[in-house]
């Protein structure tokens, strides 16, 4: 566990993180499949004309960047909260069945109702995510009495996610049309979601972030174990309930807007924890800053590497983020089981 930095160093760290985020956002605005000179980009941001530059920057890149920031923050914080309420390092929002629920709902919507609009996709995704999480949560806590086991929550969610994911694949295997239409959404992308999707997701993510931050102290206590948390005046079940709600808000809205991007919620909290330590008051905001960096970075990379086409962000986050996670896991001083 890293030693907490002195206040000056901490402030410097936060400023640095914000600066990096700013850089990432800037990259997302300035770079892309179509190379525009920076001056053009700046002008296009403020001008309201219908030139190609404005189209590209204001209508495509700006919403995309915003979406990247929102979804990145949402997914990363959701992941941190999820790991906190399940006390399991391999938990992520997908363990609550969120990604699987969203995917299944979207696929069903396309198959049965022929939904095509971005807003339609987003709406069904949100619905599916929420339903899956509710079912997983209900299963985990039903009949358990005052203390619901975090392990049970993770298990219930994982099993439901497996089931829904299998169903999703089946629908796509059976219906080529559904596959054709839905596969791009399922790969996760920040593209062409439209500002109305953003308008729906942004308040949800904002709400989720506030809720998560409010739970920071509770999550710290929960990490000590249910009994010790209770002795500190924290109600484990209540924290878990609110935590799950925050996860659904954050991850559900992110999935609704950007499609299922599975890696951010799992890996970013891990990496960030190595720098900030496990205290949630620092971990959560740091995740909110780091998640977008990863997502935007991946998005920009996807735009540049396969020019003029683009590589979906969901694919790139994994390909970039995973080696980093692996390197961190190898370098960290996680000792072999010492029987503690």
């Amino acid at each position: 566990m890293p030693k907490p930095a002195g206040p000056a160093r901490a402030m410097l760290g936060w400023l640095g993180a914000v600066a990096i985020l700013g850089l990432a956002a800037a990259a997302s605005l300035f770079l892309g499949a179509r190379l525009l000179p920076p001056v053009e980009v700046l002008r296009a941001l403020t001008a309201g004309d219908a030139s190609t530059a404005t189209l590209v920057v204001a209508d495509l890149r700006l919403p995309r960047t915003l979406l990247g920031v929102l979804a990145g923050a949402g997914l990363a914080v959701a992941g941190a909260v999820m790991q906190g309420i399940t006390r399991n390092p391999i938990a992520s929002p997908s363990v609550l069945g969120i990604n699987a629920g969203a995917s299944f709902a979207v696929v069903v919507a396309v198959y049965l109702f022929g939904v095509t609009s971005a807003l339609g996709y987003a709406g069904f995704a949100l619905l599916g995510a929420a339903l899956a999480a509710v079912v997983a949560y209900a299963l985990a806590t039903a009949g358990a009495g005052p203390a619901s086991s975090p392990t049970r929550l993770a298990l219930a969610g994982a099993v439901i996610a497996t089931m829904l994911s299998a169903w999703t694949t089946t629908v796509m295997v059976l219906s080529g049309r559904t596959l054709e239409e839905a596969r791009h959404w399922l790969a996760g992308s920040l593209v062409a979601r439209g500002t109305d999707v953003l308008a729906v997701s942004a308040p949800l993510i904002g709400l989720g972030l506030l809720l998560a931050l409010g739970l920071a102290r509770g999550l710290d206590a929960l990490a000590l174990g249910d009994e010790r948390a209770a002795s500190l005046g924290v109600h484990p079940t209540r924290i878990r309930l609110w935590g799950a709600l925050a996860v659904v808000l954050l991850a559900g809205a992110s999935v609704a807007a950007a499609g299922p991007i599975g890696f951010v919620g799992l890996a970013v909290p891990h990496a960030v924890r190595l720098v900030t330590g496990g205290e949630h008051a620092r971990l959560l905001p740091a995740c909110a800053l780091a998640g977008p960096v990863l997502l935007l970075g991946a998005d920009v990379f996807g735009r540049l590497v396969a020019r003029p086409a683009e590589l979906e962000v969901g694919i790139v986050t994994a390909v970039i983020g995973a080696p980093v996670l692996i390197a961190l896991a190898r370098r960290s001083d996680v000792p072999a089981e010492a029987g503690r």
Binding site: A140, V159, A267, A338
Partner: protein, 360 residues
């Protein structure tokens, strides 16, 4: 006191008080064997051409006609055997991994072996390889993923948490490869690829079954022999070493066996959903309280049989039960998930919450 090392003329068998009597495991195994036999026969009988058990028996005794024999021996029998092997290997891999990594969520999916198999298969499919080559691609992919996991994970000993994190990283990359293929290639290729990600036993040949059987026959006894090591490892590294067990080497060996089993299963049918994750929990529940995390030989046997039953039964339903054939993974997940959730509910009501102890 000097060490006693008597060798009695007749080895005695002792029931450990407080554990389920040995006969409970034995009875369970027999029951499951019976169920497996029924399911196998059913799978051999049902299909596009419905045969009666008598006709199937006729194939065994050599009295059936050429057509029937062909159907049974060339198409159905390999598929059924593939199901048995894949189910048993996945269940074994899951049981070993969950105990080794001290995490009830652990499964070959989590550590990347399943996705390695999918990615391998998918890449070959995308490259236009003939269908017969694809399982080989799966095996290679799974093997490479497993090998990478072991190589990357072994720094100053094998830590459960580190292995899991590296496995997750590998899974993510491999899943990304599969997703990329699904998104980029024509629909027909994409659908084939997706089939591999959920698990399908369709079209298995004797060649594949033969190789897999070789692998399973070698690995399953090794796994059973290593169970004693798991029990000692559960006591923590210090005590394990104090009892004369080289903890790191033992863990490496167990990990190798687990990923070997998983790779064998994945090469056979892709990562059939749920079996590796859920069957160990179900087996522990069936074996009765108390429920140690480190599996005993009996629990592994029960798990293997249960996995086989599930795989073959699900394949039976997947192939014949619905209007169109679906991948077997969807049936295992659909059947397994509610059963699992019922188990969770029941355990929640019956026991008081177990104190969690995450040492990872």
């Amino acid at each position: 006191m000097t060490t006693t090392r008597q060798r009695p003329p007749r080895p005695a068998r002792y029931a450990v008080p407080g554990m389920p009597p040995p006969w409970r495991t034995g009875v369970l195994c027999l029951v499951l064997l019976g169920v497996l036999a029924v399911v196998v026969v059913a799978a051999l009988c049902l299909g596009e051409v419905v045969l009666s058990p008598a006709e199937v028996l006729g194939v065994v005794t050599g009295t059936a006609d050429g057509g029937t024999t062909l159907i049974v021996t060339e198409f159905r029998l390999p598929r059924v055997l593939a199901g048995v092997l894949a189910g048993a290997c996945l269940a074994g891999a899951g049981a070993l991994l969950q105990s080794l990594l001290r995490n009830p969520l652990a499964s070959p999916d989590v550590i990347g072996v399943s996705h390695g198999g999918s990615a391998g298969a998918v890449l070959l499919l995308a490259a236009g390889a003939p269908a017969a080559m694809v399982p080989l691609g799966a095996l290679t992919g799974a093997g490479l993923a497993a090998g990478s996991l072991v190589v990357l994970g072994r720094r100053r000993g094998l830590s459960g948490e580190r292995v899991v994190l590296i496995g997750i990283g590998l899974s993510a990359i491999l899943t990304a490869i599969v997703t990329w293929a699904v998104v980029t290639f024509p629909i027909t290729v994409a659908q084939q690829a997706l089939l591999w990600t959920t698990g399908s036993l369709f079209g298995r040949t004797w060649a594949e079954v033969g190789w897999a059987a070789l692998g399973a026959v070698f690995l399953l006894p090794v796994a059973l022999a290593q169970l004693r090591q798991l029990a000692v490892l559960e006591l923590g590294d210090d005590l394990a070493r104090g009892l004369g067990m080289p903890a790191d080497r033992a863990r490496l060996g167990l990990l190798a066996t687990a990923v070997g089993l998983a790779a064998t299963a994945v090469a056979l049918g892709g990562p059939i959903a749920f079996i590796a994750l859920g069957v160990p929990h179900l087996a522990r529940a069936l074996a009765g309280p108390p429920r140690p995390i480190a599996p005993s030989g009996g629990t592994v046997l029960i798990g293997g049989l249960l996995g086989a039953v599930l795989a073959v039964g699900a394949d039976l339903i997947a192939g014949n039960g619905l209007a169109r054939p679906v991948p077997v993974g969807v049936i295992t997940a659909t059947l397994g998930a509610p059963w699992f959730c019922w188990l969770l509910l029941r355990s929640a009501r019956a026991e008081r919450p177990e104190t969690e102890r995450r040492t990872a």
